[in-house]
């Protein structure tokens, strides 16, 4: 069951020192308006959890929070796209917690699904061994990683209904997984529709996981934002 609130009200759920999951993948399917509001509100000392950093020079995704120096810890699998963030990590302003991408995703899933750990062979024989505990299962070595949860997850979906059922379009990325793994889940959507307008088999995230719905840009607005970004970065 979800409650519809404004972007400003939603951003108040995040306070200094909160841990915040942000859905999406390198700009795609990220909650644009919520990130803008978190940046504008100047909330500090955030632990941000997302699959990878944002674009060079800010742009969409978490780059704005980096430019504002709002992050003290970043839990992720990749930072290579954002030189500003790398500089803050090297200077010791941001603590970095890395895991391989598939492991990162499963850690979030474990956090949401009530599991005690993720046990994976990925990273054996590399520096990643030092980031986890080694265990043997049926004679084979694995790395044991702890689950990840957050105070607040800010995710992005295509449509929602008043019950908080979410429908995705395109790649849902980390959004349906993060929707399970935080104490408060805020979904930014292109469109809010009536109960029953999202058919049960189209529900990507059932409303049981969602606390708040906020109205984001419309699909058309987002399409224009990304077209401009992709043209400006020679990607389209």
């Amino acid at each position: 069951m979800a409650v519809r609130i404004t972007i400003k009200e939603a951003a108040k759920k995040i306070v200094n020192k909160s841990s915040v999951m942000i859905g999406g993948f390198l700009g795609a399917a990220v909650p644009l308006k919520m990130i803008d509001e978190i940046a504008a509100a100047g909330i500090k000392d955030l632990t941000v959890i997302s699959i990878g950093a944002g674009y060079r020079g800010g742009g969409v995704d978490i780059g704005k929070l980096v430019l504002n120096k709002q992050i003290i810890k970043y839990v992720t699998s990749h930072v290579g796209t954002d030189p500003n963030l790398i500089k803050q990590i090297v200077n010791g302003e941001v603590e970095l917690e890395l895991s391989p991408m598939g492991t990162f995703v499963e850690r979030v899933r474990a956090g949401g699904a009530g599991l005690g750990a993720v046990v994976t062979p990925v990273g054996m024989g590399t520096e990643v061994e030092a980031m986890a505990e080694k265990i043997i299962v049926d004679g084979k070595p694995y790395l044991l990683f702890k689950p990840i949860r957050a105070d607040v997850a800010v995710i992005k979906a295509y449509r929602s209904d008043p019950l908080g059922n979410l429908q995705y379009q395109g790649m849902s990325n980390t959004n349906p997984i993060m929707a399970t793994a935080a104490d408060i889940v805020i979904a930014e959507v292109d469109e809010i529709v009536g109960v029953g307008e999202i058919a049960c088999e189209q529900v990507g995230t059932p409303g049981i996981f969602v606390d708040y719905i906020v109205q984001g840009h419309s699909f058309e607005e987002r399409k224009n934002i990304y077209e401009e970004l992709w043209i400006a970065t020679n990607k389209l």
Partner: protein
């Protein structure tokens, strides 16, 4: 050296019906040379299977992009999914082949591609999962670094992305099969001699004697 030689050579490894994940750069370029009549299902780790070329301007979808954040299109019969499903495909051994770049590869099939201590910090992204889970691993890279130093080493000197996983190395000079006993030279690029490849390769080429014999006769 023919233009896009490495990308064209990678494409010869595509077999009909394969599920393939291509790394950013030259590996992705190889999709332009998929042989006619060969159907390859391209997977992108951010959550897509059977994607196609870039859209035209005005026809992009803000939520359809590749792992390099570039807009793509989905082919008829394609699928999109979340990243947990994507990495179940990758880690679970459902993807037949991956082609990746590298900083170094060694004769034991280990690969270093994600970190240069004190110089390069990126994070491993999905590379470790791909190298572990994909059944066949091809490394595509220049034979030497920009200073002319060998990138095919006896032992990688940089932090590993995965140990003992590489099956094939394709460079601008040669193609190697990486077997349990080490590096086997399989092909030379046009105009390249075995002696040149041996000089520019630090790892031991098990079968170099056969190639020297071919060149003498």
């Amino acid at each position: 050296m023919p233009r896009n030689y490495i990308a064209r050579r990678i494409a010869k490894e595509f077999k009909d019906g394969m599920y393939v994940n291509l790394g950013i750069g030259i590996p992705t370029e190889s999709a332009n040379y998929i042989p006619e009549g060969t159907q390859v299902f391209l997977q992108t780790e951010n959550g897509g299977l059977m994607f196609g070329p870039k859209p035209k301007r005005g026809e992009s979808n803000p939520d359809i992009a590749n792992a390099g954040a570039e807009p793509i299109t989905m082919m008829a019969g394609g699928a999109v999914f979340d990243v947990a499903t994507s990495f179940a495909m990758i880690r679970g051994g459902h993807v037949n082949m991956t082609v990746v770049g590298a900083l170094e590869v060694d004769e034991g099939g280990s690969i270093a591609s994600w970190k240069i201590p004190g110089k390069l910090l990126t994070g491993m992204g999905g590379a470790m999962d791909l190298l572990y889970g994909c059944k066949r691993v091809i490394v595509a890279m220049t034979h030497t670094d920009k200073h002319g130093n060998p990138k095919i080493r006896k032992r990688c000197t940089l932090p590993l992305t995965a140990a003992g996983v590489v099956d094939m190395i394709i460079t601008d000079k040669a193609v190697f099969r990486v077997a349990k006993d080490g590096l086997h030279l399989e092909e030379l690029a046009p105009g390249v001699t075995a002696a040149e490849v041996e000089r520019l390769t630090e790892g031991t080429i098990i079968n170099i004697i056969e190639w020297e014999h071919i060149e003498i006769t």
